[in-house]
């Protein structure tokens, strides 16, 4: 597991990051460093943090629209930095539907057709399960320190804690749609916010952590909301019901056959 290249990721993955990022043991190097920390190190620390850890959680995802709302209950398993399995538990109509992510590649399984389908790159910007998260938001665990330039914009205070505001700009060669992202990371690695700007510098969507609670023994972003700037009144909120960090999850849980057969996890 530690044979992975070092320093690979950091792109916040709203749902999963929340779960995974916090999983880390306390005391990232950057967080405890005095003065102004090196943003790249900060980001790298956050990544190293959840690499090699695992989590098993149940979250509620509420998709809100002005005339309509619906809530899904999801079980999310993560292992290391690049394995994630999301399974829909409720509502009944969608139960069993799963999404598997391994190293940035995404597969979807629908029990209705009993078929595993690989999500093509062209669809990574489509909404994930009808929410305000795109497939990319869920999948891109792979976009990294090396592919972005990081800059510490400032340090804010939040209830006695420091919050590092880091601006990450993709390098020219990075295959990303965003022109700029701004991430707020609390000194205990809890992600407080993630803003996505387009190539023209306009804010397109933003994710906010609305509630931080100690869950599974660690401070956890227990409630997060993703909003698109252009569609006020539309948002998707993720609430963590329960989470266990460091759970022993076999790698075999992150395979296509496990995706197809829910009993395996």
């Amino acid at each position: 597991m530690h044979t992975h290249q070092p320093a690979r990721r950091r792109r916040a993955i709203p749902i999963l990051l929340a779960l995974a990022l916090l999983a880390a043991p306390r005391g990232g190097a950057a967080a405890s460093a005095p003065g102004r920390p090196d943003p790249r190190a900060l980001v790298k620390a956050a990544i190293d943090y959840w690499r090699g850890t695992s989590s098993d959680s149940v979250v509620e995802m509420t998709i809100h629209r002005p005339d309509w709302e619906r809530t899904l209950v999801l079980r999310v398993l993560t292992l290391g930095s690049d394995r994630t399995l999301v399974r829909v538990l409720a509502p009944k109509k969608d139960a069993g539907t799963g999404t598997l992510l391994v190293k940035g590649t995404m597969w979807s399984f629908s029990p209705k057709v009993n078929r595993v389908i690989r999500i093509p790159a062209s669809m990574m910007h489509q909404s994930w399960m009808g929410s305000d998260f795109s497939n990319n938001d869920v999948a891109r665990s792979d976009e990294i320190v090396d592919r972005y330039r990081h800059r510490l914009l400032g340090v804010e205070r939040d209830g006695g804690r420091e919050v590092y505001v880091v601006e990450s700009v993709p390098l020219e060669s990075a295959p990303v749609v965003w022109g700029r992202e701004v991430v707020r990371i609390r000194d205990d690695e809890v992600l407080l916010g993630h803003d996505f700007y387009d190539q023209d510098g306009r804010l397109v969507k933003r994710m906010r952590t609305l509630e931080v609670r100690v869950m599974g023994g660690r401070p956890t972003a227990a409630r997060q909301r993703m909003e698109k700037v252009e569609a006020p009144g539309e948002w998707t909120e993720v609430r963590v019901r329960r989470v266990a960090y460091g759970a022993r999850i076999p790698e075999a849980a992150f395979t296509l056959s496990a995706l197809r057969n829910p009993r395996r996890f």
Binding site: S108, V113, R115, R118, S122
Partner: protein
């Protein structure tokens, strides 16, 4: 007849050969304009009719806002009933309900994002050519049949043939997962890469079940008798919409903005040609008048000496121009209309076009259009230009002094 008109008439025919030549120039120019514009409009109308007949219809009724932001939830309730209602509107040749969705289409090995269209199999042939363009297999059989027809390029991309299984995975109207696996009943080819690569049609009933539509759809597609009658059609359909449902009528130019732009661009470029034609005709007319005024300087001098007002002379020259131009335009109009009428009956077609058209289930010949615009705009432009060009000789005639004029060679 006023004396001035009689004088003008006689003057025109004093040099018959020159007059006929000028008339020929005017008539030819005007006739060419009438013919060309009529044919051009006809070809646009045909292009539009053919294109909208592939899939989009002359117009569609949708929920307001759907076109700009196509969301599943921006749906038309009870879309079948609405289609029935619109189908009874006079001038509507066919109306068919549809539902649109986005899905991931996959076969055993590959997947692509595509547009899924739920169609009423019996109604669809009235508004779309796709049912008639099925090259392999057959079209959809029933409203709730579990089957699909796909475009040829998509079939090739997915390595699918008739009988193969196509899996569709998308999001339903209520946000739930919409998934279905259906056998491919047929493969169509429209010639439009966009359609052949990105469309899957399934029966509307099946669509509504899979995507949790609860009887709703996204559009009623309407075909009228032709683009020519679109204005009336649009008004009538709008009047027939049930009140209070936030529905809008969208014509083909809104549905296919790219095509509208293409036509506008093409039309703009032909303006240069028409303008050049008008300029050439104008010079020929101007030449005639100027010559005739210069030739008749002595004569005008005599008239002035006899007490005729310079203004009357100018008016007479203008009148001559007017009569000559109108005569030419009449001839030209007849010529243009005659040629267009001939092509209207026999059809104007380019070699090779017929075969191609037959392949794609389309009419093969262009028929010129007859509208006030196609009939009038060319002659009107020639008329304006001719009158403008006659001004100079007329003004010249007005400025003549009797003595000098009489002395002129």
């Amino acid at each position: 007849m006023p004396i001035l008109v009689r004088l003008a008439w006689r003057n025109i025919w004093r040099n018959r050969r020159r007059t006929w030549l000028t008339l020929a120039a005017i008539a030819f120019g005007a006739g060419l304009l009438v013919f060309n514009i009529g044919l051009q409009m006809g070809s646009y109308a045909m292009t539009i009719d053919n294109t909208v007949r592939i899939f989009y219809g002359h117009l569609q009724v949708q929920r307001a806002g759907y076109l700009d932001a196509p969301k599943m939830r921006t749906a038309v309730a009870r879309v079948r009933e609405l289609a029935d209602r619109i189908g009874r509107v006079p001038g509507v040749a066919a109306a068919a309900p549809r539902a649109y969705g986005f899905a991931l289409a996959s076969s055993a090995t590959r997947s692509y994002g595509i547009q899924v269209v739920g169609v009423a199999p019996r109604r669809e042939p009235g508004v779309s050519n796709i049912p008639g363009l099925v090259r392999r297999g057959r079209y959809l059989s029933g409203d709730h049949a579990m089957e699909a027809v796909v475009g040829r390029r998509l079939a090739r991309n997915l390595h699918l043939d008739v009988g193969g299984e196509l899996t569709l995975l998308g999001t339903g109207r209520d946000g739930s997962v919409a998934a279905v696996a259906v056998p491919v009943a047929g493969i169509f080819e429209t010639g439009s890469a966009e359609v052949d690569r990105g469309f899957v049609e399934i029966p509307l009933g099946t669509f509504q079940e899979v995507f949790s539509m609860d009887g709703a759809g996204h559009a009623v597609v309407v075909r009228g008798r032709g683009v020519a009658e679109l204005g009336n059609l649009e008004r009538r359909v709008r009047a027939a919409l049930p009140p209070g449902e936030d529905l809008v009528v969208l014509t083909w130019d809104r549905l296919l903005p790219g095509m509208k732009e293409l036509i506008d661009l093409d039309f703009a470029s032909s303006w240069f040609f028409y303008a050049a034609l008008v300029v050439v005709i104008t010079f020929s007319i101007m030449n005639t008048f100027l010559m005739s005024v210069l030739e008749r300087t002595r004569e005008f001098g005599l008239l002035l000496a006899l007490g005729m007002r310079p203004r009357r002379i100018g008016a007479m020259v203008l009148l001559e121009a007017l009569v000559l131009t109108l005569l030419g335009l009449c001839l030209g109009e007849c010529l243009g209309v005659a040629v267009n009428a001939w092509f209207y009956v026999h059809g104007f077609s380019i070699p090779g076009m017929e075969e191609l058209a037959a392949h794609f289930n389309m009419p093969s010949a262009i028929r010129p259009r007859f509208t006030p615009f196609t009939l009038g705009s060319g002659p009107a432009a020639v008329f304006a230009a001719a009158m403008l060009s006659a001004l100079y000789p007329a003004l010249r005639a007005r400025r003549l002094r009797p003595l000098e004029a009489l002395k002129a060679a």
